[in-house]
Symmetry: D2
Subunit: 304 residues, 4 copies
């Protein structure tokens, strides 16, 4: 399989580098808007620990919403099923930053991967601590999972998010007005913006995702039962309003970020990370999604 | 008419003082929650300048949303019809603090009397100045209109609004995220919370409303054309989601506030202010509305 | 005043006949789509019974939603305030044929002038009778009010509405699913489509509207109290999602129809009917609205 | 595995028969309301063709929405990806019979498993034919898949659906008003109501589901690629507004019906059918879901 995988990854990287339409980079903060869009990288770690990559696998990119997976794992570890008193686990049917649903459901976000839900999850992880302590836990979790301490927060990205994050401030204050925020909005959002600003390479991300492959692969971070549930949430909610389409086309649990990264899991088999900064209309990496579709098809990796 | 009016006002005040159901005082800030609800006052200024009142006409209450009328008058004076580029003038069909509509209409509030619209209006009045300068203009407008300088801002109410105003912070940040806020959210909201915290008596409020009766009554504050338009907006949007009901039952342009006050205008005839702090389910004064209905009926004062 | 009025009407008709933009005729049924849009007529009946008109005052047009006013008057006459158990009286904030609000409020339409509300009102008038009996009552009411028996239903318009009225069928079935329809959807809609297909001239319409001017003008059709309430509903809800704008610009209670007609009332003074088939983006007559604005301004006829 | 499976099924059936809360049977038509709720059946067909069952496996129940899976398979067979021009494939976030989303997205249903989407799918299968011909195709597909001709439509259920189906008529007419219905609403709905009224036992349903297990299991009905996609849609959208929860708790692609049945697929392993007529608040079988959760856990059958 290793040889086949290597060939497939190289073919995908080669084909996609000739793309005519690379999508559109996120432009709501200058740091993301400045990333050249014609970039692509992919890395796969198989259950036996082998790592294969193609493209710009050494370039760091902004993880953004992908960190919501790790934050959720930590929040569930701290609070267990009590977390579901504060956030639901249903696909949303609305855009990732929609506030409509939040009002209609009285401040109870639809799932932990829409922004409002991730703010609640972050709030649960913060739990009255100083933001730097919560951030140390989140960063520590990712470093341990990846077995790599060279993963960091880009502070200028975090600062820029704070300055341009009016929509997220609106969500946080709305949650607070519904009594669904335990810490002051500024503190929770500060923590949220900083963990979204974590930067890593596709290789680091694929390694950090190993614990979701299943028992016995990589460092044990959470229980096998919880691994399944994290994957279930990634499958139904991991691509915002494009989750159904991703499940249909790729058939793997995955989480995307507006930095252009996607982390996908082949249960029992592999952890895949892809990056290409141009996004489609749902805010998911355009070529990243295409690469995932091709890889899953070539390796027969759909869960279905 | 004066004698008839005096009799009617006394009857209304006497009857309502026996009410079994005084409604429910606003409880989102301690200052409003602490107001004893069994209070009632009414004042009428007729076009000839005579003032009649009944009940606790010397008690000051928090004007709250009623100040939106004066702020709108100032904003239209400063910006004219350009204001309508930022806010619409249609009834909302949603609650006064709804954010749903704001998302569906891309940050363009439905009218200047829902919270989001009044925040935009305040932002227009602020116009880059220090909040205290904008507040001086708003307070000055009301004092001039009432010909009474003994009208003030209750700073502890404004402070409390700031501390408990998460919903309004959500609205302001949402407006900012849509590019429909010119000043920083904190500054605009600070101004907004302070003008909502203006306190006055029903007599002072009725006097402040004289300029809306029509040409030649009280100090001239705005053009006759604008008087009509302010009244039109009060008629269609002045009672939030209960505007249709108020028009149906009372038939006068009016603006309510969660402090329990209502200002109503009988075009060409009179300015009426009523106060009773208990609210109905739409957030409008319960006994105040009843008093308006009885007064309009007894004096044959509907515009229809 | 009569001379002044005559002059004003002629000026308006002359000026508008030079319009560059006549709006866009309703095109959802062939009968309305075929009406040449460059037509205009206006008629005013003052309280003393004098009638003045200008433009094509002898041309019959499809009353459409304007008949909702008469149907509501009949329904209130039959059922009194019990009607408000089935329909609310608040402006909608949504389009005239929206089904969203109906679902969110469990089949209780916002007011009697949105389509869903008018279907309920028609259902109340139908009351288990044969549609032709209900239609005879509606047509009889209008003929009596206008003191003119030469007012008829255009059956090919009614038939065409039935064939193209999927949206209204959706509304009626939705109401039925919520238990808010007493008669079979087909029967209620048949009655609804037929009364909307009543045709009349502006002169006939202005005469039919006299009972809304107030006591002592034209045939007495309903109580003075009810006249006021009908006017209040026309003011807050008569122009669908453009009601606030009409109140702001014209300041009179009025009801529009997609046939291009508008009936407006100057309480205590006059009944006005205008017709021009081209519509604005809210589905209200473009030149009709302009004419109303000019007339109200010239005659100083705002209620505010 | 066979022995283990047998034991697990018997344990589940035994435990659930002692349930205190059997949920609430669908009551919108008399035929479903009359079904005694204290019933349970489960059947599993493994890839080697072995069939195991427990409980009332010989009792026929109304398939209801489960037939949407087969109708979708046929529609995709007839029209391929062109079907996605008429219906989307995203989870809805709204109730199964919601019309709100349909208006907000201009008559384009969110997925083929909400009612509006299944009406469109049925409309595509109907394709101008007589309803009986389309029904023959649908019934034929299910009989072939199950290798069992003793599967029938319950006509009194279909008739009752027609009489009480105002909400579905509303959806169909709304689709028609948006131009997204090719056949007359009555014909499409007639076909829809009849295929929903197909009755079968859990054993028959599990057999009918074998083609979704993957290549080489049971009769070949659709391509392997399409099998995966049908499973993906069942995973993200198969339980209406409870799809996320089912994925989280069970981790298998599945489709429920208000008759109390659920069909779930273990890709590459097995087809599972369960039935218990009492529903939870989302309209999915209460004990059926619990049985699926226990079975998947005991057999280690989650896809994640």
């Amino acid at each position: 399989m290793a040889q086949r995988l290597k060939t497939v990854l190289n073919e995908i990287a080669a084909d996609l580098s000739d793309s005519h339409d690379w999508g559109k980079v996120a432009d709501y903060i200058p740091e993301l808007a400045a990333v050249p869009k014609e970039q692509f990288a992919i890395a796969v770690i198989t259950k036996d620990g082998q790592c294969h990559s193609a493209g710009s696998a050494q370039v760091r990119f902004s993880a953004q919403s992908i960190t919501k997976v790790f934050t959720l794992a930590i929040a569930l570890g701290r609070s267990g099923d009590q977390l579901w008193q504060r956030v639901d686990r249903e696909p949303s049917g609305d855009a990732f930053n929609s506030i409509v649903q939040l009002e209609q459901e009285n401040g109870h976000p639809r799932n932990p991967f829409v922004n409002a839900g991730a703010i609640v999850t972050t709030d649960e992880v913060l739990a009255g601590r100083a933001p730097k302590d919560a951030l140390a836990e989140i960063l520590g979790f990712i470093r341990t999972a990846a077995e790599d301490d060279d993963i960091h927060i880009n502070k200028s990205v975090a600062k820029s998010e704070t300055e341009h994050g009016h929509r997220n401030f609106a969500l946080a204050h709305f949650l607070a007005s519904c009594g669904n925020l335990k810490n002051p909005p500024d503190m929770t959002l500060g923590t949220y913006f900083h963990h979204c600003a974590i930067e890593l390479t596709v290789t680091q991300l694929a390694k950090a995702g190993r614990f979701l492959i299943g028992p016995g692969v990589g460092p044990k971070m959470v229980s096998p039962e919880r691994v399944r549930r994290l994957n279930a949430l990634m499958m139904t909610c991991g691509h915002y309003d494009g989750s159904g389409d991703f499940a249909y086309r790729v058939g793997l649990p995955a989480k995307s970020g507006v930095g252009g990264g996607i982390l996908a899991i082949v249960p029992g088999q592999a952890s895949i990370a892809v990056w290409s900064p141009g996004l489609d209309q749902n805010g998911n990496s355009k070529l990243g999604t295409e690469a995932m579709q091709r890889l899953a098809h070539a390796m027969n990796w759909s869960v279905f």
